[in-house]
Amino acid sequence: MDVTIEQQGDVSVVSVAGSIDALTSGQLTQAFEEQIEAGQVSLVADFSGVDYTSSAGLRALLGAMKSSRTRGGDLRLAGIRSDVFRVLEMSGFTSILKVFDSVDEAIASFNS
C-alpha cells in the first residue's frame, strides 16, 4: 500500500493505493494522525487506487474522521471503487462519511 499527501489550499489530500488490511492500515492511520496533529483537519482520502479494504481500513477511517471532526474539520472520501464501497456500506459508513465521486468535488465541498 502507498500513501501520498498533497496540500490543496486548506485541504490535505491523502491518496491511497493498494490494499488496506491489518498489516498496512497502521501506515494510513499514521498519515492521518500526522496531518491532524499539524492542524490540517480538512482531509480528503482519495481512494481511487484502493482495490481492497478489510475492517482494519474502517478503523483507520473512523479514527481519522472522529479526530478531525472533534477539531472542527472532517474526513471526506473520494473515488471509491465498487467492492470497497460495498464494505463501507455494509458497515454503515456511507451514512456517516461524506463520499464524493472525485477529489475535486470533495475539496470543493469544504469551501461551500
Binding site: 488490511d21 475492517s55 473512523l62 472522529k66 464494505v87 455494509m90 458497515s91
Partner: protein
C-alpha cells in the same frame, strides 16, 4: 474443476495477503463471480487476522491452514489453527446505524464475516479450532476458460 486445495503458513500479518490471494484464486478458478470471490476473500482475511491478533496473540506462534473445497455451487473454506478458541457467536453485534459519535473504533470484523458468507461452522476440541466459511455462488463461467488458464487453474 478445482475441488480441493490447501495452504498452511505461519500465523503472521505478513502472510495475510497470501491467504487472501490463495482463496481468491481458488474461488475464481471455481467459476464464481468477482463479487463472490471478494466476499469470501474478505471473510477469510478477517478470520485469519482475528486468529493472529487474538487467537495466538503477540506471545504465541503457530500456523493457520486453509482448505478450499468447491462443489455444488458453493465454496467452503476451512480455517484451522491451534490458538485460543473463540466461538463466533460470542462476537458482539455492532450498531451500524449509530451516529458517528457513538461508533466504537473497531469491532467490525465479525460483522463483515457474517455479511459476506452464507454459513459459519465452528468446531474446537480446545487444542485445534476449525472454522468453516460457506459462500454460495452462481457459476458465471465454466472452469478451464481462457482467463482461468491464464491464472494457472489447470495446475
Amino acid at each position: 474443476m478445482l475441488d480441493h486445495d490447501r495452504l498452511e503458513l505461519d500465523a503472521t500479518l505478513e502472510n495475510i495477503p497470501r491467504f487472501r490471494a490463495f482463496v481468491e484464486d481458488a474461488c475464481a478458478c471455481g467459476g464464481a463471480s468477482t463479487d463472490d470471490c471478494f466476499a469470501i476473500k474478505l471473510a477469510v482475511d478477517e478470520v485469519c487476522t482475528n486468529i493472529i491478533e487474538h487467537g495466538y496473540g503477540p506471545d504465541h506462534h503457530g500456523a493457520i491452514s486453509l482448505t478450499v473445497e468447491i462443489s455444488d455451487g458453493e465454496i467452503r473454506v476451512a480455517v484451522v489453527d491451534n490458538g485460543r478458541p473463540f466461538a463466533p457467536e460470542e462476537a458482539p453485534v455492532p450498531d451500524v446505524e449509530a451516529p458517528w459519535q457513538d461508533r466504537p473504533i473497531g469491532g467490525l470484523g465479525w460483522h463483515l464475516i457474517r455479511k459476506m458468507v452464507d454459513d459459519i461452522r465452528y468446531q474446537t476440541d480446545g487444542a485445534e479450532n476449525r472454522l468453516t466459511l460457506v459462500k454460495k455462488f452462481a457459476e458465471t463461467s465454466g472452469p478451464g476458460n481462457e482467463q482461468e488458464r491464464k491464472n494457472g487453474c489447470d495446475d
